[in-house]
């Protein structure tokens, strides 16, 4: 592991954060009455799309993992379709988890689903970009001693911090402050976003800090 790798990681993460910030400010030039709280779903869509786009572009540019030898068009298409299916599955999976956690089943289903989408954007999309539609590899990353590169390590950190963020975001909901951001699912989406951003910031720093201790099996 070299310092250049960590630098590369840092820059890609900064770009991701930048895309989230842009998704907050840019739309207000084009859309009237745009604000994160009032037109929350719109912002969610924009944020999700922009984070996905940036992730894809970065993946194509940086190419953190060794690209597959097979490069036929049909292979690529099936791979892409598989990724889409994985993404949708993860959205539905998160939706079910939220409902089991206590989200209303029928009312606000659209809001719950959009929360699932944004969480999938923060967690599943980077997994898909880095590891492809390979569920076993995902499982490997989230086990002890399972990571094999700084990219996977940072993926682990950002995903976990997104989950922690969305979990913490649920805590203000019962309070009787009557603030608009306490409504379902705004606090959770904000929590997930903050968690994701925090993960993006923390992971390069953490890897840099522990660069002496980290030894990956294939390096």
């Amino acid at each position: 592991m070299k310092d250049t790798d960590i630098k590369k990681l840092l820059y890609t993460h900064l770009l991701c954060i930048f895309s989230i910030i842009l998704s907050i400010f840019i739309p207000s030039f084009f859309l009237e009455n745009f604000s994160i709280l009032e037109t929350h779903l719109t912002w969610l869509c924009i944020c999700s799309v922009s984070v996905t786009a940036v992730n894809l572009v970065l993946y194509l540019v940086v190419k953190p993992n060794v690209s597959s030898k097979r490069s036929s068009l049909s292979y690529k298409v099936t791979r892409f379709l598989k990724c889409c299916i994985y993404f949708l599955t993860s959205c539905f999976f998160f939706h079910v988890i939220f409902v089991l956690y206590g989200a209303p089943l029928i009312e606000l289903a659209l809001e719950t689903f959009s929360l699932a989408v944004i969480l999938s954007t923060f967690t599943t999309i980077p997994c898909l970009c880095l590891l492809g539609p390979n569920f076993k590899a995902w499982l490997r990353i989230f086990s002890r001693n399972g990571v094999t590169s700084i990219w996977e390590n940072s993926l682990q950190i950002t995903t976990i911090s997104s989950f922690v963020g969305i979990w913490l975001g649920a805590f203000p909901i019962p309070l009787d402050w009557g603030r608009p951001w306490q409504e379902w699912p705004i606090s959770c989406t904000l929590g997930a976003t903050f968690g994701y951003v925090a993960g993006l910031v923390i992971s390069p720093l953490w890897i840099y800090w522990n660069r002496k201790k980290l030894t990956y099996k294939n390096n």
């Binding site: 089991l100 206590g102 989230f142 399972g146 649920a170 009557g178 603030r179």
Partner: protein
């Protein structure tokens, strides 16, 4: 009269009187009034007030309708509640430009009102609270508790111009003043004092008359307060007696003076001058006395109690850490307790002999402190060098975090009100965390999957005990159960917009016959499923085969109880439809049936205590087959590995043949005693006790709660399985139950408290439980109190009694784990590497092998559970004492504390009972072993004993030599075998 907003409680009394006396009350403003005083207003305009950011909706709505309504003359009282200023304070702050705008608008509104006022109308403008610098309220600072009061009428109201620094009037004085001005009786519970100036007759220009009017208003007020005081002091003893007498004397004197004044109107100037101050003095005295006795907190006792509780929690933590250390023994636990108690006794004796009067509460506290101090001293002394500081925080981080969140939640009224949702949230988080951690530690997937294919191999963390699907399935099932149980939800009385689940009402209240029948069917179905699952569980572990009386009771008594319960539900839900001549029979039966079920349950428990060992003993002749190697192998060996494997097998086979021949010649008919189901003997007893307890408790609830009980059993079963997956079995001890297991169990108890239709408020107590199995003519007795208590704390009882299962379950699951490993028959490679000496699962007999560790583990489990509960109650105590001036202290914090404290007591008793049951089983098992050995010795033959782990059929016979279950068995020369069922 206009724009009024007074303290809710008094306003409630006052507004209740309006319609009865023919006053037309018109209201416009905050929709909260609709919930508070439904049906009071002759005409009302409610506007949504939920959104704090919305400064305009309510105010503009009122402004639109205010002046037309005022001019219409269709009202006697017109109440408007503006919200903009309050919301503006919350949203911005008092010095924000928005606030200036809002205040100007209010000014204009008041000016418009003043212009339209008629001569016989009084305008009252006030607020129910002030605001802090930041614009909030709810605390006890002066800025928050003081509000302006503005009275205006076109007629002159006050005899003189108001003072520069206006008088401060208590808010409670508004109620009697307004009541008298409206010609209504003053509410009974009022202790306010009328604003006397308002009653003076300025127009008459005779100061005497106006003073007389004031005096009569004050006298009316004083009469009402005196009546209240009389009634109150007759029932409650918390008022100071001397002060009470003084005030009563004062009132009778003032009353006499007033009568004198009325009889001789002439020349009573002097009397008039004394009557008014006397009455005022009386009213103020009463108020001061009541405030002092009602809002009196003993800070010293609060702090002392909290410190005592905290020290006890700490002690639980400390001893639960000690209990697993190898050098632990029970002696040091008893000595300080005994010394503390004796010290307290000596203290009490001294105090009694010297005649000092002391509260029993203080005495109890002293005894507790006395027994605590030696402990803490010992802990302090032994701390120093030996123990690292890390042992202070023995919990793993995430569990500690969740516990802290739960602790902090008790300090927030919102979190207490919504605890029915918060507790499942934390529980689900804990469960997901457990599954995630199992995966993280590589226990879910075989190491092959986790290692990187290119690199081949990663150090395996031992074989996975549980398949991934198994654990994930358990987790999902648990989540589903918790979510389904959440459908049974009763609203907290402080929740603004909420409707309780209709599932909580008894079936009797269902009108539609068809749905009623369907629901009845579902309830009976749940009952049958509960029974069937318990029987199936017992059958699975083989305990249903034993001829012991408790098992017979489970086979025949439990269905009978189920039948009785179903019949009772049928009678209770359809009692109104019964034909009249059967009424007496139905009512008689609906009293007798619950008694019969409770009686059956009690006799079942008695049987269980009498013969708790549910073991089937079989004496068979014939040598136990020593280990036969059962590996499918066919065809000639092809490789070196195969040869390595086959040759020892052939050797062993020959060896066995020889040995068998030898034994056959030596003694014909070797006696073997096979004892089945020893492996689950403890947990079978606990599960039976829980089932027997659940039935009477179920009868105390509404019918549809049976579904919750089914879910309860199901989810605790799933949770125990999931927890067992993460708990390694350490033989030969020490055994520990990890913190997360105990915490999850406590959380589930809390969750079940809510899903069985309870809330920690007095209005949610299910009083109908007092009449189950009791003929209705009876008064409220201790039996009724017991029934209502059992209904309220049903979940506490069940979970506390079931607590030992947390320790026992991993041993039960050991059976399954090894079974799983043996299952794939085609996997030859695995069969080959299997160690020769692999033992049969010995399950709970492992606990018996190390009796010292077993009792230490039980003690530790109990202490851990008590610690978690103790932390909860400590949080409640701290919250109630710190927030004693909070707006909601009597509505939320104090009831929560009382419920939690009662629940703690019930849980402790239940926990002791559960542990006692396990110890009783242990004792019975020991005596059973002893008896067995004696009979074998009497038989005088060389015999062997085969103990059976589980009664699972479809397994090959694989008897093994077993480390002795007890030493005396070995000494007696009996060889002890462990057998699985053939």
């Amino acid at each position: 009269m206009n724009s009024l907003s007074c303290h809710y409680q008094d306003a409630e009394d006052l507004s209740a009187a309006f319609p009865g006396l023919g006053r037309r009350v018109v209201f416009m403003g905050d929709e909260t009034w609709n919930d508070l005083f439904p049906g009071v207003f002759s005409q009302a305009l409610f506007f949504p007030s939920f959104n704090v950011r919305d400064l305009e909706t309510v105010d503009n709505g009122i402004m639109k309708h205010l002046y037309p309504t005022m001019d219409s003359d269709e009202w006697d009282v017109l109440i408007t509640h503006f919200l903009g200023v309050d919301h503006c304070g919350h949203k911005h702050d008092p010095y924000h430009p928005e606030m200036a705008k809002k205040l100007t608008q209010m000014d204009k509104m008041i000016q418009g009102l003043v212009k339209r006022l008629k001569n016989d109308t009084l305008l009252v403008v006030t607020g129910d609270h002030g605001m802090t610098i930041s614009g909030n309220h709810g605390g006890e600072s002066e800025l928050e508790t003081s509000a302006a009061l503005f009275l205006y009428s076109p007629r002159a109201l006050f005899p003189s111009a108001p003072a520069e620094e206006p008088e401060i009037i208590p808010q409670i004085s508004l109620v009697p003043t307004l009541a008298l001005l409206l010609g209504l009786p003053i509410p009974f519970g009022n202790i306010g004092e009328v604003i006397a100036e308002v009653f003076s007759e300025i127009e008459d220009s005779q100061p005497r008359f106006s003073a007389l009017a004031q005096a009569s208003a004050l006298h009316l007020n004083a009469q009402q307060v005196s009546r209240f005081l009389h009634t109150y002091s007759a029932t409650a003893q918390d008022l100071q007696v001397q002060e009470l007498h003084r005030l009563q004397k004062l009132f009778s004197k003032a009353s006499a003076d007033y009568q004198r004044l009325l009889q001789s109107p002439q020349g009573a100037e002097a009397v008039l001058q004394t009557v008014i101050p006397e009455l005022q003095q009386f009213l103020r005295g009463v108020r001061a006395m009541c405030i002092e006795s009602w809002a009196r907190f003993s800070l010293v006792r609060m702090a002392g109690g909290a410190a005592l509780l905290a020290a006890t929690c700490f002690l639980c933590l400390l001893v639960s850490q000690w209990a697993t250390s190898p050098a632990f023994y029970f002696g040091p636990l008893l000595k300080p307790t005994a010394s503390g108690l004796s010290g307290a006794m000596v203290c009490a004796g001294l105090l009694a002999s010297t005649g000092l009067k002391l509260d029993s509460m203080v005495l109890g506290a002293m005894a507790a402190v006395g027994s605590l101090l030696p402990f803490l001293w010992k802990a302090w002394a032994s701390w120093g060098s030996k123990r690292p500081l890390a042992s202070l925080l023995p919990m793993p981080g995430p569990v500690l975090l969740l516990l802290l969140i739960r602790f902090a939640g008790f300090f927030s009224d919102s979190y207490i009100i919504t605890e029915a949702r918060v507790a499942p949230f934390l529980l689900i988080s804990l469960i997901l965390l457990l599954v995630a951690r199992l995966h993280w530690e590589g226990k879910l997937l075989p190491p092959k999957l986790l290692s990187i294919p290119r690199l081949g191999f990663l150090t395996p963390a031992g074989p996975p005990q549980y398949s991934a699907m198994h654990a994930v399935g358990l987790g999902v099932g648990l989540l589903l159960c918790i979510r389904l149980a959440g459908l049974f939800y009763r609203c907290h009385e402080e929740t603004p917009v909420c409707s309780s689940s209709p599932l909580l009402s008894p079936l009797r209240s269902t009108v539609d016959g068809r749905t009623k029948n369907l629901w009845y069917g579902a309830c009976v179905g749940a009952l049958v499923a509960l029974l069937a699952s318990v029987r199936l569980w017992l059958h699975c572990y083989g305990n249903l085969k034993s001829p012991e009386p408790p098992v017979l009771f489970v086979r025949w008594g439990l269905p009978l109880m189920g039948l009785g319960t179903a019949a009772y539900w049928a009678l209770a839900s359809g009692a109104d439809e019964a034909p009249p001549r059967l009424r007496a029979l139905v009512s008689g039966a609906s009293v007798m049936l619950p008694r019969a079920v409770a009686g059956l349950a009690a006799s079942g428990l008695m049987l269980l205590l009498w013969r708790p060992v549910t073991v089937l003993v079989k004496a068979t002749t014939g040598a136990p087959r020593t280990r036969t190697v059962l590996t499918p192998f066919s065809g000639p060996p092809t490789s070196q590995a195969d040869l390595d494997y086959v040759v020892p097998q052939i050797y062993r086979h020959i060896q066995e043949e020889f040995r068998g021949r030898l034994e056959r010649t030596k003694s014909q008919g070797l006696l073997t005693v096979a004892a089945y189901q020893l492996g689950s003997v403890y947990s079978a007893a606990v599960v039976m006790a829980l089932t027997l307890l659940a039935f009477p408790l179920l009868l105390l609830h509404a019918e549809r709660i049976s579904l919750v009980f089914l879910l309860l059993f199901l989810q605790s079963f799933l949770l125990l399985h999931l927890l067992a997956a993460g708990i390694p079995i350490t033989t030969p001890g020490p055994f520990t139950v990890p913190w997360h297991a105990v915490f999850a169990w406590a959380l589930m108890a809390t969750q079940t408290f809510y899903t069985t239709g309870h809330q920690p408020v007095f209005s949610a107590i299910q009083w109908h439980a007092a009449f189950v199995g009791v003929s209705e003519s009876r008064d409220f007795t201790w039996l009724s109190a017991f029934l209502v208590g059992a209904n309220t704390f049903a979940s506490h009882i069940l979970f506390a009694v079931g607590c030992p299962l947390l320790l026992l379950w991993p041993f039960l699951c050991e059976n399954q784990g090894s079974q799983k490993r043996r299952q794939p028959p085609g996997n030859e490679a695995e069969a080959r590497v299997r160690p020769e000496e692999e033992q049969e699962p010995r399950m709970e007999m492992r606990l018996r092998d190390a009796p010292h560790h077993f009792s230490a583990a039980l003690l530790q489990l109990g202490l851990k559970y008590l610690f978690v509960l103790g932390i909860q109650i400590l949080a409640c105590v701290l919250a109630a004492s710190i927030l004693r001036r909070h707006l909601l202290v009597w509505k939320v914090f104090a009831p929560k504390f009382i419920f939690e404290a009662m629940g703690f007591i019930v849980s402790s008793v239940g926990l002791c009972l559960g542990i006692a049951l396990v110890m009783r089983v242990d004792g019975a098992v020991s005596s059973w072993f002893r008896q067995l050995v004696l009979t074998q010795q009497k038989a005088g033959e060389q015999s062997s004993l085969v103990c059976t782990g589980a009664g699972l059929s479809a397994r090959k016979a694989q008897p093994h030599l077993l480390p002795p279950c007890s030493q005396d068995l070995l000494a007696s020369g009996t060889s002890l075998f462990y057998n699985s069922r053939s």
